[in-house]
Symmetry: D2
Subunit: 298 residues, 4 copies
């Protein structure tokens, strides 16, 4: 007799744009919201009875209605509103997990007085995940697809040489990666004053960028740990960070056959395969809670 294990359901990828009009100055919030609910849902799996099922369509409607009713102060704050709503209002729902992606826009500057024109920045995608089980909150913020590169201050040598090792050691290489990071906020309690989610995001992003740039690197693992440590050291509101860093290899083009010297000038940017370095960095005493394999990288 097969048994039902962990299960969840909801509407994924609700693309909501919220415009706030302050006279002729307009503001945008552009989110992709995914709802996952779980709880007392045995019956619908076993018999198909939907008597305890809030439709995924209604969860989608709630996203759009809440954009109006509650506004979107930040991805995290919006997720908090939604997660609480589903758990509090639906008896069968024990846990709600809201995932959000945020796309950012900057103004197109024009001489006119209206301020309602925007261009998407595209640089990275901000992410958030808010989970609520009726008593405890978990908020994980993050970003993905932030591509960074150092043209020097990266070495790689002293590694194990087994039968299958052919890589030559190097004392000056390009180090490039596409940062995928998630960090968990400590002690969020819905009854206390709301954290400054946007300020926390900007500061954390800056620490990741500057730690990547500042670190004289002997391995991407070392750079990763430095990036994570910088965040944990400087941001008391963050207890844990998980980084997934593909090593975007840039190989020196071999120009010798053409009588040319390639003095670290011309590189081939490779696609696959790529190194993939992943680790969690924790505040001392913190329990790890960010899942290990939450990226879409193989």
């Amino acid at each position: 007799m097969p048994i039902l294990g962990q299960n969840q359901y909801g509407k994924a990828e609700c693309r909501v744009l919220k415009v706030t009009r302050d006279g002729t100055t307009h503001h945008l919030k552009d989110l992709n919201v995914s709802v996952a609910l779980s709880g007392d849902m045995e019956e619908v799996h076993l018999s198909g009875s939907n008597s305890r099922v809030l439709t995924t369509d209604a969860t989608k409607n709630t996203v759009f209605a809440f954009a109006k009713e509650r506004g979107i102060a930040s991805a995290e704050a919006f997720g908090v509103h939604l997660a609480r709503h589903f758990v509090v209002s639906q008896q069968a729902v024990r846990t709600a997990r809201i995932r959000l992606e945020e796309y950012t826009w900057e103004r197109i500057e024009t001489p006119g007085e209206g301020r309602h024109s925007f261009v998407r920045t595209n640089q990275e995608t901000r992410t958030a995940q808010v989970t609520f089980d009726g008593s405890a909150w978990q908020v994980i913020s993050g970003l993905k697809d932030l591509v960074v590169l150092n043209t020097t201050d990266s070495e790689f040598h002293g590694y194990v040489k087994d039968r299958y090792t052919t890589l030559p050691e190097t004392h000056d290489r390009i180090l490039a990666t596409q940062v995928h990071a998630r960090w968990r906020h400590a002690r969020f309690d819905d009854t206390v004053r709301s954290p400054d989610w946007d300020g926390s995001y900007r500061a954390t992003r800056d620490h990741l960028l500057t730690a990547f740039a500042d670190t004289y690197s002997y391995s991407l693992q070392q750079t990763l740990f430095e990036m994570g440590s910088r965040v944990v050291d400087h941001r008391p509101e963050i207890d844990e960070i998980r980084l997934s860093l593909p090593n975007k290899h840039h190989f020196l083009a071999d120009l010798e056959p053409f009588g040319l010297t390639n003095d670290n000038e011309v590189y081939f940017a490779a696609d696959r395969p790529y190194g993939l370095i992943e680790a969690t960095v924790l505040r001392e005493g913190a329990e790890p809670a960010i899942p290990v394999d939450l990226t879409n990288l193989p």
Copy 2:
């Protein structure tokens, strides 16, 4: 003082094609192999010392060398060879996890005597994940991107109606999904005779397809549970299956404004948002071990 938590590294997406030549009849295996190693790796994170680090480049070389030395009997068998090798040969490596995607090809039939021409089938991607920690093995097989659709025998009604519910009930709808499934093999022991991985895969895939087709559905959750149960019931080698089923909505096109009746004939295939239904089905007594969010769906 920040602490290092779970960490792993390796080469991702090694694209290896193996040709086996049996006279003029050739055979293909086409894999995408990702290696992740973990173990005694504190030092490289803290100081950048690579003295215990097998390079990701060497792990890539090993994939290609093993394709020659061991052959590729199946994705799972190849993963077993690789996982064992890294754990056994590298003192610092405690656990190796090999992920594999397999692309399938069928022959192009021609009157000539050579049998060396192929066309990619593209239907689904077979997946496998093999993990070894020096004593215990875990093998999770699976598939993704298998798109199925029933034009009838699907109803949806009797659900909760809250303030945000507007969806009309239906007694005949299209049910379509893109199957992403992972199933865990019980009791694989490297010293016993190797399982028939390919036979197990084909049988499991068939159960998923026929359970989807056979089930008169009152909810996608019910269909999901039926698919999972069918596998657990019929395949004694499988203890657990995790299914992630996006509800690929097909909405009836509204033709009334044009004086036309749409008698379940013309549908709009929507992209986003989509329902996302996920659950684990277990053999009684089995402990769940497949991670909950291992898809790249938001």
Copy 3:
């Protein structure tokens, strides 16, 4: 004073699924339809006056309404209905171009009596483009993403050696490509009996596959020309074919450093860069009319 040149507009990517019910046996047509209209449209560009503009929304509605009113006998036949409608019914529209992609499904075989369950085949995408200017028709059929591979019967040598040539000659290599083909039908006249579009498609696809498989190749250009010639020679209804064939390189893995011989057994499937071979093959006397760069390959 800037001048308006060629212009066109319409709704792109209308995803329509049509179900035909023959008792308990159901049939599917699954299309992605893009409409582009052009004609007497100066005014809307210069002043924004929409008085001659049929909305793109109405062109989308027409796609869904016609699926009901005319049915979908084939991608081409459906495109003919749509193109004629827009040109005949809208005074300002001089030319209509309908592009269609078709996704194919096969039945899931079950013991039950209903025949309403399907699985997407995914192998290639069938394409069609129908253009009508009020008097002349042009119908271009095609396919894309058909991936084929020969494990032998491919050589490459005797080429020019300039200063930048380092490629070693080879007398046995893998030849693989992702076929993107478009072929133009001769003399389609809306008043004559409709061609057997589906039969023509199947036969042409078979010629492409078997020509690829049969040809002992000294260059991908030669294989391409043989594929195109086979179609023009055997299909009198086709006057011209354009093929775009990326050379999906499979490089022999270098196993020598590990003391292994790679006797054309283990290959690395590369992503980028890739050779890109494109050409038109014409019936003698035919005028070329298929645009040269209509693929989305760089």
Copy 4:
């Protein structure tokens, strides 16, 4: 007897990164280069003889070697070097067409003295296409994936109402698009002083952005024409521009069922289908030369 028509070949998507080191201040150029050669190539198609064929591998090598030998002053200038080289050095090559994509990076600001850390901006991709036939040059610059949005100053009404028109008129809507533009430079002669390609690009991009923002729009066609006209009016070096503008629909979410008023605040960002508006704008007297369908939009 089938005839060979237009044909071309070369290596596509060579990913080259060039680092220039000015002391501790480093500079990057990051390109994706695709070479297409055509000329006296009948023989290789008919018999497979490669005696006039420069290998695509050599064209790739040339890209990397020229990055060293000639440097990359701009995408266009690099394309000019390559196109000339292939036509001048290879007797059989009559025409060379080089396509380039450029990815842009900005500095990560750090207190240290080294200036060698970068983050990818990702905003748009700059494109260039240089064609040379031994005597005449054609240079087409461009950009793609620049996403812009106005929250107001867009109306849409007064259009044709046919049987299939259901769209309500609107006097205040969101107008959003993903700009794909290509513009052709007049009179480039290799012997004259090289144009300021980068300055021309920046100015043209600014005109596109500000024209989009400034235009009070009654149709996307009108906005398109204004964008094109702005460029032709202000940039004497540009004779022609082709714009392809998908109408990224943002539909007002229907909040009435929930007793809420949606006063142009909450929108659903739709994926498919989308309007697609395309047109060429020309300087008076200029002959159009940019192909009509050079985007990868259906």
